[in-house]
């Protein structure tokens, strides 16, 4: 399980109030997603690299996560340069790659990686449970937050159940291959996992009813802003605000 892999460090970003991190991450992601001015994006790249540096995360781990993101982006590179209209740059057989298409694919690559790096540095450095509580104090509806909590809580249980079922298959010499037996067995595995989750959901509901649950959820943790939190908030707001004004005011 990869939950909370990055949350165990002790950097300035790890200690920062999670509410501030959520607000900055949100503003930053939105601006980067819609920006198209290169100076604005360059600032964003520098900002997320700076965050990564401050968070002192293992660069190898971060790189592995980025690989996963870029696997999706690879498909964009296969299609975008050849389907986007514009000035022809080179051709492979009947396919023409355009200059605009390549620039567009490049833009998406830079934006996605910038956002993911910033999110890792800002959000993955807080345990997911604390993030949930912080969202609660930012007035996100409690049903959504409890959905998050239940997911985190039972992902682990489901994963263990999956491991047990897989082990049960393996000890009876199951070797996956490209045949009907494999497909059928894997379908059984998924089906069994679904039924078990359904049963478990039912038992959890009963256990909650036994403890007087009547549709109301309560949050116990509270946060307090420190001086360093406010200083960091101001600095980060300045950078993010600067990016926004570069995009929409100065380079208009």
């Amino acid at each position: 399980m990869h939950i909370d892999n990055f949350a165990s460090g002790d950097s300035l970003l790890h200690r920062l109030d999670p509410r501030i991190k959520i607000v900055i991450a949100l503003l930053f992601s939105v601006i980067v997603a819609v920006a198209d001015k290169s100076l604005c994006l360059a600032t964003a790249v520098c900002f997320s690299l700076a965050l990564l540096f401050i968070a002192r995360l293992s660069l190898r781990e971060v790189f592995l996560r980025l690989l996963a993101v870029n696997a999706f982006i690879l498909f964009l590179w296969l299609f975008l340069p050849f389907t986007y209209g514009g000035e022809k740059l080179f051709s492979i057989g009947p396919l023409n790659a355009t200059r605009e298409g390549i620039i567009y694919a490049l833009l998406i690559t830079v934006k996605s990686n910038t956002i993911v790096v910033a999110l890792i540095a800002l959000l993955a450095t807080t345990p997911i449970i604390t993030l949930g509580h912080a969202l609660g104090h930012l007035y996100v509806p409690s049903k959504l937050i409890h959905l998050l909590f239940f997911t985190v809580r039972y992902l682990q249980v489901l994963h263990l159940e999956y491991d047990r079922l897989r082990a049960a298959m393996r000890i009876r010499a199951f070797k996956p291959g490209t045949n009907l037996h494999t497909y059928r067995s894997l379908a059984y595995l998924i089906g069994m996992l679904l039924i078990k989750s359904f049963d478990r959901a039912d038992r959890i509901r009963k256990a909650m009813l036994c403890r007087g649950f009547h549709g109301e959820f309560y949050l116990l943790s509270h946060f307090e802003l420190q001086k360093i939190d406010i200083v960091m908030l101001l600095i980060m707001m300045l950078v993010v605000g600067g990016m926004g004004s570069l995009q929409w005011i100065i380079l208009k």
Binding site: I129, R153, V157, K206, C210, R211, G212, E216, Y218
Partner: protein, 224 residues
Amino acid sequence: MDNSEIIINLKGVSFLYHGNQSQRPVLDELNLQISRGERVGLIGPNGSGKTTLFHLLMGLLKPTQGDIEVFGKKRQQEKDFREVREKIGLLFQDSDDQLFCPTVAEDVAFGPLNLGKTQDEALEITRQVLKRLALEEFEDRLTYKLSGGEKRLISLATVLAMQPEVLVLDEPTTGLDEDTVERLIQILKSSKLTYLIASHNRDFLSKTTDIVYHLGRGKITRAT
């Protein structure tokens, strides 16, 4: 308080799972009486209906026929059982069903908060209960990272935090090591509660209960 006051009274209770019309009912006109202060064990083969019996008692299932009287009142509607659930604490067989909050403190506080306690009161009760079970250091731990034995003891804490009058424990010793079982025995012996325990562990039952019933073929008999 009258010591012989009957607080749980099941009269002719039968239960049949849906779509099983052709089969023998799980519980067949079963009778059971438990008085205040009684410590009762329940033994019976797998699938004999021990869990079903407990779920009927808590109103999680409805009997096909028969009456369920708890604390002197007949209980039929969901609404009747709300009061039952406040006074009877059920410990589930699988602790992963019971512990659903991210942290131990939140899970233990869940019941008291539902009973209308304030956050401070709930936290106070949580600390008291954890202390009573010598589990203070678990307060801020994440529930999904606990070991099996720790999960069982924390589950018991979540039930005790409701300050119930009766405890109903469904296979509490399954999967526990000897030390944890011993701890459980001490906790139960030192409590003044009425309780009903289903278990396959005769040794555990003989140490914790005064009377053991046998559940088989849908009926309850005195175990020998």
